[in-house]
């Protein structure tokens, strides 16, 4: 059965326990916590509440040498992740290159003496969620996501600003955009590029394919967005400091 689009976040405890029994029949819950570094109380609490967080599942999968994306895909609400991984678009790949790496690339193009083969920082970066959504947005994406999932547009925006995206919303966003289902999970830091089946060096290759003019524009847009974020953070910090200075 296809999952209800408005199903709640996270994974049902029962389904989680069935999965765990399937991949590691002889391992106790406390062993699972020990090898994955997950706090026992945290997992116990999630099990009692009836919902296990995706991040817990990912940590446990890694500890058991199971691919976290395949593990997620066994649950109905993540059925989109089943099958062969869909290759990311160039725009998606570039969205997961950190702003500072884009700047390094700009410098490298313009100065042959500058380091050319620098290592790209692993995804995610400081604004990776917003960058990913903007990379796959055809103009009506946010509207479609909010209609499909019931999330209010301002709450969706708040996630982007906080550089967070709940996994189920990430998958729904990818679905509405018609791109590979795992991109948002990478952008929000839940899984790594390799785990999601992005080819090694794919981001680098996309960066090399990008014309210089486009690269400079992209870097410029990112810098502007970064400036806005920093402004907001500084204002917030100033306001906090003023409260502490007067009343603390």
């Amino acid at each position: 059965m296809y999952p209800s689009r408005k199903s709640s976040m996270s994974i049902p405890s029962k389904a989680f326990q069935r999965w765990l029994h399937g991949v590691a029949p002889d391992v106790s819950t406390s062993d699972v916590c020990r090898v994955s570094g997950l706090k026992r109380t945290t997992l116990a609490q999630q099990l009692v509440r009836g919902k296990v967080a995706e991040s817990s599942l990912v940590r446990i999968s890694r500890a058991l040498d199971v691919n976290p994306v395949s593990a997620l895909s066994t649950f109905d609400s993540y059925a989109d992740l089943r099958g062969t991984p869909v290759a990311p678009t160039d725009a998606e790949l570039l969205s997961q290159v950190a702003t500072m790496d884009l700047l390094r690339a700009v410098i490298a193009r313009n100065d042959p003496g500058a380091p050319q083969d620098f290592e790209l920082a692993a995804a995610p970066h400081d604004t990776s969620v917003r960058a990913w959504v903007e990379a796959i947005d055809d103009g009506g994406l946010r509207h479609r996501v909010s209609r499909a999932t019931g999330i209010a547009p301002q709450n969706f925006s708040a996630h982007l600003t906080a550089n967070k995206l709940p996994p189920e919303l990430a998958v729904a966003t990818a679905r509405e955009a018609g791109v590979g289902p795992a991109g948002g999970l990478i952008a929000s830091g839940l899984v790594s590029e390799e785990e999601a089946g992005w080819r090694r060096g794919a981001r680098r290759a996309a960066l090399d394919r990008l014309g210089t003019a486009e690269l400079v524009s992209l870097a410029g847009e990112r810098l502007q967005a970064l400036g806005k974020t920093l402004h907001r953070q500084e204002n917030e910090r100033d306001r906090t400091e003023r409260i502490w200075e007067n009343l603390g």
Binding site: E236, W244, E245, G248
Partner: protein
Amino acid sequence: MTAALPWLTLIVCVAMTAVRIPSAIRGRNRTMFFLFALLSADILLSIKEPYLAIDAVLGGFNLANLLLRFMLYGTFLLLGVKTAAAFGSEAGLRAIRGPVGLAVLGLVAALTAWIFFTMDTRGSSVGLSGLHQNAALESYAALGRFYPGYVAVCLLPGIWKAVRSSAPTLLRIASATLFTGLVLLVLTQGFPLLPDGASWLRPVLNYSAALASALGMGGIWLSKSLARRTARG
């Protein structure tokens, strides 16, 4: 519960005053130390036993009550100025410390004193509950509630913004607690509307307002101390 609330509030306020002693000695933010000391004195003077003892020294005609009123006005002036400045509320600061605010305070203080001295206030009783209830006494009590309520209203919008901001969680919780205290204080304006059977609600509301405000301020202090410690560690 109702009997323990005043003492609990007093303990909280005295504790807040105590934790500020070290920084006050170092000369940092002495106003807050003074504010909490004043608040503690306010609470002390509104509890029956200390009130009767102090009023006896002052002549036994409830001068202690008038003193308490003036101390409360001072407390709220200080609290208002500091809090409005803290939450970056320009309008709030003007409404409290500007000409309008000071005129309101002056008028309230003058009327309070005038009514007090025109009343027959013999017979020491906390909250003037033993006096003959009449219109003069009603207005005297209403004035005492009005100025704190005025200050609270000036502060609420600025604090609400901080509650809804993305400031550190503890700071937001503390701001919400302070907000709650001030809302309760505003609600005390409605005391005359309370039916006689619900008069027990008055002290509960008064002390809850004081307690929540004090806890909120304490939470702000705590959030700062923790943030500084984390930054250093």
